[in-house]
Symmetry: C2
DNA sequence: CTGAAAGCGCTTACAG
DNA sequence: CTGAAAGCGCTTACAG
């Protein structure tokens, strides 16, 4: 019923091998032959059998996207990107949700990681944050000689394939925008101390403040942990103080939502009485009202880039192994002139 | 390097076929033989090669989860469930995000659907809503004789395998809770008119109201479309009217968030001045403050159930083909006694 | 209860 | 530029 490579070969009057060459875009096929084979293949609606191909070439044509404790939006975007890059090369993405973060000892992490690769033999892996920082997992991957790409690891090194965005630059630019709107006293709510993104965003903020010659009052910088609740606490401290800021930069959208919540309770209108911006452009940012000014991470692009880099590792070398993607500042209703 | 079935057979002193029987849990193997083979297999860390197995048995050991316009949280939960059920049977899940909803003509939908199955040969498919209502897609699946399961289709029929939850019962129970708390005037904000869930939730609500002998004032029921914004509009109409309700039942969490937003602006405290409940238990429900009383759909369970049903279709028959899963009412801070 | 043979549909390695 | 042969690691269909 389903056409095989033999069917195509017979009908095109060539050998199986030639059909294989055409389909895999190998060189050394006469143009005329190539055309004929292509014509017959599409006429027969031929598509190669993945299992047969995999068995013969000892590849699986599968890559694993390994993640843990996903922010659902982040993970689905990463998936979309990776799937799209894989399709172009006849690959498919297999999902590996794990519970690695809940494990306490390195030994447990190691054996849990081993299990992932014993079950299924993939040709490469993409590690989503925060697993891109798990040295045990990376060691297991390396020991198996599996190609891998890290998404947004804390630290990048030129010889470790990874994709990331520039958190420093994004925070810097977002802060510059607030300053350009006339804000002189800007509050900042930090992210979770274990995430490197939190540090980078703070540094970007401080750099812009310093460059503009604004004072770096310590009282304007508050701790947070990326949760709505921590945004509420920090906002209360900032807004109930004497001489409160006219703008608040929260390190993610959830905390920014917390700030807006507090502002509403204090009768402070956003953006007229207070400008607020977040980070990440989660769905929350456009669900809220006013909609949130924030930074859109190139999540889809990073997923695409990671898979693309992974599948190119066989063929090409000497690339730069760290790819940085552009963010986008989303100016919306939650910020205005001071 | 990697152990094959031949290695296991040799070391256990049996034929390849016997090893195969043990691994596939086929009958007619002596208990002693079975034990010996199992021991050798685990010693050699043997795991079967999916490609070889697939080629020989003309199965792919892959199922497709087909979706469109995903609510990220819904899709990741469905994925988790399906993956978990597949693992138990040596299957894997391949994702197929589509743009089917954007296509206008049935012909386009048909050819887009065909493409999905030409690229990769899966052994079965799960259709997530709203694709579980796409007759064109279902026709294509049927024409290929592929086993399939629908997730939360608008209409279930006993001979079409599907998983769902009881929207009517959930809305009924949630409304009963409000009534038990002493609320006599309860507003209702409808969901999107194209979703069958919206109708069922309205019916459940009305049934509880009627049963309690409360008046079914038409002014208390407002249109909505599942968006935050529509919740805002409906809440304004309800709350700025004379004799406003003491509780509002919004058909999803986003609209409930809109209601709370309006309440804050009107100086109406939640839950003291107004009780609010939503539906779906999205992450938003616990990000907000007060946290939202809502209904948790058994999304993970539906994903698990769908995959399980799919993989059982070969072997078993005569089952009930429609499986209904239990919801959970989450009582949180947004509702209180009238 | 067990096994020997054939074959799934491709690619690899070689030959011409 | 093209092809014939062998083999990837399993399962199926059959035999005993």
């Amino acid at each position: 019923m389903k056409a095989t490579i033999t069917d195509v070969a017979q009908k095109a009057g060539v050998s199986m091998k030639t059909v294989s060459r055409v389909l895999n875009k190998e060189p050394n096929v006469a143009e005329k032959t190539r055309e004929r084979v292509m014509a017959v293949a599409s006429e027969l609606r031929y598509s190669p059998n993945l299992a047969a191909r995999g068995l013969a070439s000892s590849k699986s044509y599968l890559i694993a996207l390994i993640y843990d404790n996903p922010n659902a939006y982040y993970i689905t975007e990463l998936q979309r990107g990776a799937i799209s890059a894989c399709r172009k090369r006849g690959y498919h993405v297999v999902l590996e949700p794990t519970k690695i973060r809940e494990l306490s000892s390195p030994e447990e992490v190691k054996s849990a990681s081993e299990m992932i690769f014993e079950r299924l033999h993939v040709d490469g892996v993409i590690l989503a944050p925060p697993l891109s920082d798990s040295q045990e997992l990376i060691d297991v991957v390396r020991a198996r000689n599996l190609p891998y790409v890290l998404v947004a690891p804390s630290e990048t090194s030129p010889d470790v394939p990874s994709v990331k965005m520039d958190d420093f630059a994004a925070a810097y630019e977002l802060t510059q925008n607030l300053i350009a709107q006339g804000h002189q006293r800007i509050g900042f709510i930090k992210g979770h101390y274990q995430h490197s993104s939190a540090d980078l965003r703070l540094e970007g903020f401080c750099h812009a403040i310093k460059e503009a010659g604004l004072s770096k009052e310590p009282g304007l910088i508050k701790d947070g942990d990326y949760s709505f609740r921590s945004g509420v606490v920090a906002a209360e401290a900032l807004l109930e103080a004497d001489n409160p800021p006219t703008a608040i930069f929260a390190c993610n959208d959830d905390m920014a939502a917390g700030v807006i919540h507090v502002a509403a309770r204090l009768g402070l209108s956003v953006p007229d009485g207070l400008s607020v911006c977040g980070f990440d452009d989660t769905p929350l940012a456009t669900i809220m009202w006013p909609q949130l000014t924030t930074v859109a991470q190139p999540i889809y692009e990073m997923g695409y880039g990671a898979a693309d880099m992974l599948l190119r590792q066989d063929t090409e070398t000497g690339d730069d192994h760290v790819q940085t993607f552009d963010f986008t500042i989303k100016k919306r209703g939650s910020t205005a002139r001071a």
